[in-house]
Symmetry: C2
């Protein structure tokens, strides 16, 4: 409940990840992490009329499954914290309409899941709620409609473009729970960093400086080094952004061994799946964190992980107006697992 | 720091409103509240190239003025919590890029200011920060571009439509401060309520049930009645939504004297200003709360006020797809003033 430094909240009584759900779309479910998702969708419309409703339904299912896994009912949810890439976060609003819990809509672009985790942790640790549903989603088809071109155009994508994942992740944080369970121990709140990149198809490059800013703030605030973490996981820098981040660490004199730095977007697809720079979207870091990363922690392969989501806060209007891309990154420290 | 009920956070050590700024656009500055704003813009472009940049600049100026009024500098801001109606809350991102403080982007449609106040209060009361900038903005021209028709069309507006205010409000909450100052004592977090209204030009009717839900939750959680408040202020229901809310209170057996129920949107314009149902937008409740309402409290005219923002969480896409409007309301209890 104390504040160590300029940007990091430390959760002295760290909230427990009581349950979690990771949902992946059909394409994501054919990638290298196929065995790490709880649910792989066969149909990315989920039986709905529109992709936007489908994205909301994916979130709703993730919340429902998570709550059931914790032996709770939907009525027990004290707060839902969620966001997505759609205009006016409509997928989260659709899901929150069905869930009916007190709701805080968030927008941190593709870093929204980590933003939600930090706020959920703060609300529990601050004594305001006993549990919090923290989630985020993205959908390839809603994002293409939103940010780029109608799918029907069959538009070509440049090699540095990323592929918005159809995916979501949901974590139920609770005040009490399995003392051996995973815990959210601290969170670093990002600042908006804009290095004047204007290419909406080159988001890894736009976001890498924001991730560098937040990770170095986290290490500075906590007095730690990369040695204190088994893994530093970035959200959706893709391979280009991930390598730029490694270069920023080198130039900044921050020692992060190459094998400790992995990117969710860079891990989501096989190269032959034609995702170009890698996966992206709010659902990328959400599903990979709630799936692969936390699974590895529970298997005892990792004890302490820093998950740094990355968000490119552009809008279709700002792109059309020639503005550069404001970026942000939130980082959460997760500890625990079977040791 | 305790939680009384299902939806209300009670701030035992209530954060102080150390400073606040209310900015209004040219049209808003010619309305009945002209003398209650800190700044009235002469030019709604604020010297910028686009309305979106102008909205961000309006927010930036509000933050700067607020911080200066509290004898702090921008570097002292520990967290900025803000949102707006634009796609991907781009105005807030533009402002946060200039401010450089740790940033939580929010989306609660036109209730975002109250959502920000509640989160800011929780982060201070929970011990995570010593101060928080809580703000929200809207701009008539960005909102029309975003949600309705290009201004150049000169489209006619139906009589039940509201007028998105060009305005913003900014409050600096601090842990310590003038013991006689205004304080945020509690906040009630809304649920998404959707009564199946699909007319994006009839938002007062869509939002009134959500406001009813949150105000009755607040009264239930705190064991209070309307007698305990000098005023119940709604955000932007306009005159139609405000009268529907009064009707819901009557039907629900909730005694709220008519003179205690006022709406910011219904107070912002003279009838001859052609705003139809009234003012709306995130900046409506933000500017009127940070201006008129808190001014009246400081003048000793009011001691305890409940401010219930109202948000219609529609998107242009959801409207085009024929979806009904998910709505939400957040309510904050403000106390204090010179007594």
């Amino acid at each position: 409940m104390s504040r160590t430094g300029a940007q990091t909240f430390v959760f002295d009584s760290a909230p427990v990840v009581a349950a979690r759900t990771s949902i992946a779309g059909p394409k994501e479910g054919k990638g290298p992490l196929a065995n790490e998702f709880d649910v792989i969708l066969e149909d990315d419309l989920l039986g709905m009329k529109t992709w936007e409703l489908a994205e909301g339904e994916m979130l709703r299912r993730a919340v429902e499954r998570t709550v059931q896994a914790a032996n709770l009912s939907i009525e027990d949810v004290q707060v839902m914290i969620s966001g997505d890439l759609n205009n006016q976060i409509i997928a989260s609003s659709f899901a929150a309409r069905e869930i009916g819990a007190p709701f805080f809509g968030q927008y941190g672009a593709c870093s929204t899941f980590v933003q939600s985790l930090i706020l959920g942790g703060a609300l529990i640790c601050g004594g305001f709620v006993d549990n919090a549903i923290c989630c985020a989603s993205s959908h390839f088809c809603t994002a293409e409609r939103q940010f780029r071109f109608p799918l029907e155009m069959g538009n070509q994508r440049p090699p540095q473009a990323s592929w918005t994942a159809t995916a979501c992740g949901c974590a139920l944080l609770t005040r009490d729970g399995d003392p051996n369970g995973l815990r959210v121990c601290s969170g670093t709140v990002g600042r908006v960093v804009d290095m004047k990149i204007k290419d909406a198809n080159h988001m890894g490059a736009a976001m890498a400086p924001a991730v560098y800013d937040t990770i170095t703030a986290h290490l500075g605030d906590t007095g730690r080094t990369a040695d204190d973490y088994d893994l530093i996981v970035t959200g959706d820098l893709g391979w280009i952004g991930r390598n730029l981040l490694a270069e920023l660490f080198r130039r900044g004199g921050v020692d992060v061994p190459d094998e400790k730095l992995i990117d969710c977007g860079n891990s989501l697809f096989y190269q032959e799946q034609d995702s170009h720079a890698g996966g992206s979207g709010c659902g990328c870091v959400a599903s990979v964190s709630c799936g692969w990363i936390m699974n590895r922690m529970e298997r005892g392969e990792l004890e302490r992980v820093l998950i740094a989501g990355s968000g490119a806060m552009l809008s279709p209007t700002s792109t059309q107006q020639g503005q550069s891309i404001p970026c942000i990154s939130y980082a959460a420290c997760i500890e625990g697992g079977k040791r």
